[in-house]
Symmetry: C2
Subunit: 350 residues, 2 copies
């Protein structure tokens, strides 16, 4: 079976490109003495997580507890959950997870630390904790090195929690001094927490220039997308995730309508240039609008353009968002289908 | 079990609100002698489609063949597929579907008509055809009444296809004269095709002002969303689809981070006001950005704001896009959970 045999739309992944992307990331990390933690939020597929671990990734990163449960269920570990978990239901699930796999968690509040501690202690389990530090993004994370020290002290005093380190997202030049100051705040309280985890695909290959970061969390690099092309992280040739689509309508000379819209490609703005994907065969055409199931393709003036029934290949704006819309992904090498994988951890919203 | 017992994020639907919305739509259509065709793209749940049919909807509309297969599998019919189907694989599936349920299809090209005819004739099955007319949106559909006449002639001459009518999306004031002109073009060729189907929730309640339209296709009205509030179609009190979320982080005085981001709420721009959902309990707070799993809520200056662990209820920008991200929806009446339904037709990208 080849890609040409598939009906559209179809989510496909080029395993040769995936392997190049993973080898590059693991190679970069090895060269600079960094550990690579592969973020599964991008693909949500245990088989690809396994490939990343086999290639040398140190561990897996999950954003949702439900993703972590799927990965652990496939025998994959260690796992780092970077979204702050709050509440008894999630704390109990974390404790159960920690009973069967080595788990670390990032958190930024007393409340989260106390919720997790209570459930872990009840289950006689434990988890490593990274203090999440906001080194400039303005999302989650404690706001100052002093707050990092205070929260570390709370964590250090709670049963079931092992104070392990600091984390931030994304890695920025200013993250180095910030996290070093946090280290001093911890030391002033008699605490050490030497794991330092930085994140994001766009910043990954500059991690060695940022003092003190030892781990690279990155996910999108494995697939690549239009945002990665735009920021220089992954070239088009290595964009592994592509959506096959068909021209369903050619109502007017300058317009083709594809059978892939926002429910297939995601309406993520990507590079923010008003395009919603790159049509590889028609680089001069502009995928300028998505309805839920229609891709609106503006064709350059003068050319004949594709006919109804013609197939095209789309690199989406955001690989993670696109993959999250599909129940399965078709893995191929050079166009020959080698597997169809359920996206086992998609839809795990909790 | 009540909504308060659910962990977050959770997709919930208020069945009392759904029933009000459906009664209003069916009542409007009855008052004006129109048929209501309920678009299942919004909810993708057979139980809700059944509720719509029981309340008086004439039939179901599907955008994807895979959605239609799920609905027919649940014994629900008749079905209209409005996205133009192209290619042998889909044509064969349509023929199989037409063998077990009354099916009509919209199409706008010779290619689509010929593909479907071949497969239907091979299977000794048939389907009704609506000629899709672009009366102003600039998406799919033939571009002139003359083209509608020409395509109707092709359809009329093909085995397995029954020329049944005309359709457009959305219903606009100019759709009436356009579709009437198409009717004259058909008549000039000795053809009649009296079903006339108009579409979209925002235009639904103005259909009676547009000459000659007999059917109202609408989907979003059943749930409502921020776009419906903005365009006046559904008031907040009748917005049935809501996402329960929790404040996962309160890193800074003006900022709360929710455990619902673009993979839970959709990053659909909705009314286009730079907000990504309405937090019902905090109407003065602005859900101004979504990461994949984080909702960035800007809090008004001066107030205390919610604490970590506090729960909120979000009306999404676009109900259809939000529902499509989830594997199940929790149905409740007055907060009491009455069912948890799989979103059986989600992920049916083909």
């Amino acid at each position: 079976v080849t890609l040409a045999d598939l009906d559209t739309p179809a989510l496909t992944v080029d395993l040769d490109a995936v392997e190049r992307n993973v080898a590059r990331m693991v190679g970069y990390c090895a060269e600079h003495g960094l550990a690579h933690w592969a973020h599964v939020k991008t693909h949500k597929v245990p088989q690809l997580a396994e490939l990343q671990l086999a290639a040398g990734a140190t561990g897996l990163v999950c954003q949702k507890l439900g993703e972590a449960e799927v990965m652990a269920g496939a025998g994959l570990a260690p796992i780092l959950i970077t979204f702050p978990l709050v509440g008894e239901a999630k704390a109990r699930r974390l404790a159960a997870l920690a009973g069967r796999a080595p788990v670390s968690v990032g958190l930024d509040s007393d409340r989260s630390a106390r919720d997790l501690s209570r459930a872990l202690a009840d289950a006689a389990a434990s988890a490593d904790v990274l203090i999440e530090c906001d080194t400039g993004l303005g999302r989650t994370g404690v706001q100052s090195p002093g707050e990092a020290g205070d929260l570390a002290e709370v964590v250090d005093g709670l049963p079931g929690l092992r104070l392990a380190g600091r984390m931030t997202h994304p890695t920025r030049p200013e993250s180095g001094p910030w996290l070093a100051a946090a280290r001093r705040e911890l030391a002033a309280r008699g605490l050490a927490a030497e794991r330092v985890s930085g994140g994001s695909t766009p910043s990954a290959y500059a991690t060695h220039r940022v003092e003190g970061i030892g781990e690279v969390r990155a996910g999108t690099y494995v697939y690549g997308d239009r945002a990665c092309i735009a920021d220089g992280t992954v070239p088009l040739a290595d964009c592994a995730l592509r959506i096959l689509a068909t021209v369903a309508s050619r109502p007017a000379p300058g317009r083709a309508i594809l059978d892939a819209g926002s429910k297939t490609l995601t309406n993520d703005p990507g590079p923010g240039d008003g395009r919603f994907g790159l049509v590889v065969e028609l680089p001069d055409a502009a995928l300028e609008h998505l309805s839920e199931e229609h891709g609106h393709l503006r064709l350059p003036a003068g050319g004949a353009g594709p006919e109804v029934g013609e197939r095209v290949t789309i690199v989406p704006n955001h690989a993670c968002g696109a993959a999250n819309l599909h129940d399965e992904v078709v893995a191929h090498r050079g166009g020959r289908v080698v597997a169809v994988w359920p996206i086992a951890a998609r839809g795990r919203v909790r």
